[in-house]
Amino acid sequence: MNLKYTCAMTREEIIKPENKVYTRPRLLNRNTMHYCPGCSHGVVHKLVAEVLDELGLDDKAVGVAPVGCAVFAYNYLDIDWVEAAHGRAPAVATAISRLRPDRVAFTYQGDGDLAAIGSAETIHACTRGENIVIIMINNGIYGMTGGQMSPCTLEGAKTATTPYGRRTDLNGFPLRVADVVALLDGTCFVTRQAVHTTGAVRKAKAALKKAFKNAIEKKGTSFVEVVSTCNSGWKMSPAKSNKWMEENMFAHYPLGDLKNTVEPEKK
């Protein structure tokens, strides 16, 4: 190996734009995130920031933040934001989208916010086919309030309110929201993604980009679920959380597109 040649490159030569392989997204600011180490929120925030930038939406996007861990999403993405009451983000985004059809409204919600208290707003925004993007981080737990059972908590999973594991005879069954909204005529694109590997991150980004394109082109409601970890709530290390998610969450929440009326599958 010609080490001498490598070392002879100057700093200026190395940092040429064509040599750059990664950069912080322009719309993701430098505020320190409050998310726990190992949390999926940071990755999804980054993907949303990249997609908005790539689609030229920084002056057109309006984000609607939830109640839950992502309540402070507005601290990290340099776009206009509204923070909605618990579960109401799709109603808030509906009004913004209807009153400003030249803008793109999206919600960023967790499974507690979206699938429990906000189930009616979710179903009806999707039924009306609002031209919005709904992003649901599904980690099967209420993270912000300290790890209680959510509608998406897996059977047997221990949480603060199911200390002996979720029992279906007491607490019902884990809700597959994406499957529900895929049945509704107003949705054009329903997909379930994850961000635990490089490959998964790339696929999730492509899905988010499709979703925002659909909103720009007014194709109807796009619903992007991201199956995620909550290592603090699950009481596991980040690495073990990812493994547990692959082994347990993916079995109940399989990844992939559930519906795409915009780009039907080619035969």
């Binding site: 309006v62 776009i79 934001w81 808030v92 409204a105 009616a120």
Partner: protein, 361 residues
């Protein structure tokens, strides 16, 4: 559209006035006795003319949160409902107040509590004037007594809401919502352009142009020291409103020996009772608070101190009387006459109550 004189229900007048004011959006859910607001708007199809958005939501909870989203975008947006529906909206109204967003909420009251009745009532006075939802806040509360005022208070409610960046409410009773009267509808005002909106509401979430920092509409603040400052700012706004926006109507108060205080449709029943009393030689005056918050404390006190008694007449068990007592103090007796559950009294009942409460022979 030019100015027009029409015969219509109070609820219909709300809808027409909203279109003519240049409102940007209405979000509502059916409930008796105010469904004509949404029905009239859907029939008028203002999205074809002024561009106003009209949407039937899946619930009152969704309606008020759509109003929250529209208001956050700087738009002139409103909703209407009746008592049980307005109870469902209280969380959203608290968020509107906390996020300092202008919006108009119409409550055409029916008898409660619970599902109650569909007949007229004024039993939501406490809810409307003392906050209603959680936290320290007030709404500007306008109480119409005629179909004309139903129309006029739409524009007034929006103007005050935008002036002070706080939600306002039209608190009507089922009588005013359902009865038909002559109404003068104002000429059509154009809706604000996006440029006008940006100038008037620099705080609105409109999509962030490169020229400014992100606008964030939120009611959340985890730092108590900052949250207290926020509350102090809200309270300062409320003090300014109390100073500048008290509205009321006074009749026959110059020589009054007795004073009736009543709002909404009840004030008109009391006016007939006052005419009948004066025909019998009993000098009775009327103060009709038009703003229930801010309440005309000083104005009532000034008249009451020259009288032998004050009668507060309401369609409830006694709610506004607490503010009337605060206004009058201990010097003059204050009595209450009310009907509940959707019953509307006739003028003779009011006169009988006045005569018996103050031993007038």
């Amino acid at each position: 559209m030019k100015e027009e004189v029409k015969l219509m229900k109070g609820n219909e007048a709300i809808a027409h006035a909203a279109i003519r004011y240049g409102a940007d959006g209405y979000f509502g859910y059916p409930i008796t006795p105010q469904s004509e607001v949404l029905e009239t708007l859907e029939a008028e199809m203002p999205w074809e003319t002024t561009g106003m958005v009209v949407l039937q939501a899946e619930s009152e909870v969704a309606s008020i949160n759509m109003v929250y989203g529209g208001a956050a975008a700087g738009k002139a947006v409103m909703t209407s409902s009746s008592s049980p529906g307005v109870s469902l909206m209280q969380e959203g109204i608290s968020y509107l107040a906390a996020s300092e967003l202008p919006a108009l909420i119409v409550n055409v009251m029916r008898g409660g509590p619970g599902l109650g009745t569909i007949q007229p009532s004024q039993a939501d006075y406490f809810q409307a004037t003392k906050g209603g939802g959680h936290g320290d806040y007030h709404l500007i509360v306008l109480a119409p007594s005629t179909v004309q005022e139903m129309a006029d208070f739409v524009g007034l409610g929006f103007d005050l809401a935008f002036k002070y960046r706080t939600p306002s409410m039209i608190l009507a009773d089922g009588v005013v919502g359902q009865m038909m009267e002559k109404v003068v509808l104002p000429p059509q005002r154009p809706r604000r352009t996006d440029e006008e909106l940006a100038a008037q509401c620099p705080w609105a979430v409109t999509g962030r142009p490169a020229s400014r920092k992100p606008n964030i509409i939120t009611s959340l603040e985890l730092d108590s020291a900052i949250m207290e400052k926020n509350n102090e700012r809200f309270q300062a706004t409320y003090r300014r409103i109390e100073e500048n926006e008290v509205r009321y109507e006074a009749r026959h108060t110059d020589d009054a020996e007795y004073l009736i205080v009543a709002f909404g449709s009840v004030a008109r029943i009391c006016q007939k009772a006052i005419d009948d009393a004066r025909a019998k030689g009993i000098k009775v005056g009327l103060i009709r608070p038009i703003t229930l918050w801010p309440f005309p404390y000083k104005e009532i006190a000034a008249v009451a101190k020259h009288t032998k008694g004050v009668l507060c007449v309401e369609l409830n068990a006694g709610q506004m009387i607490e503010d009337v007592r605060l206004a009058v103090g201990d010097g003059v007796p204050v009595r209450h006459f009310g009907r509940m559950g959707g019953i509307v009294p006739n003028p003779q009942e009011v006169l009988d109550a006045l005569e018996s409460d103050f031993n007038i022979k």
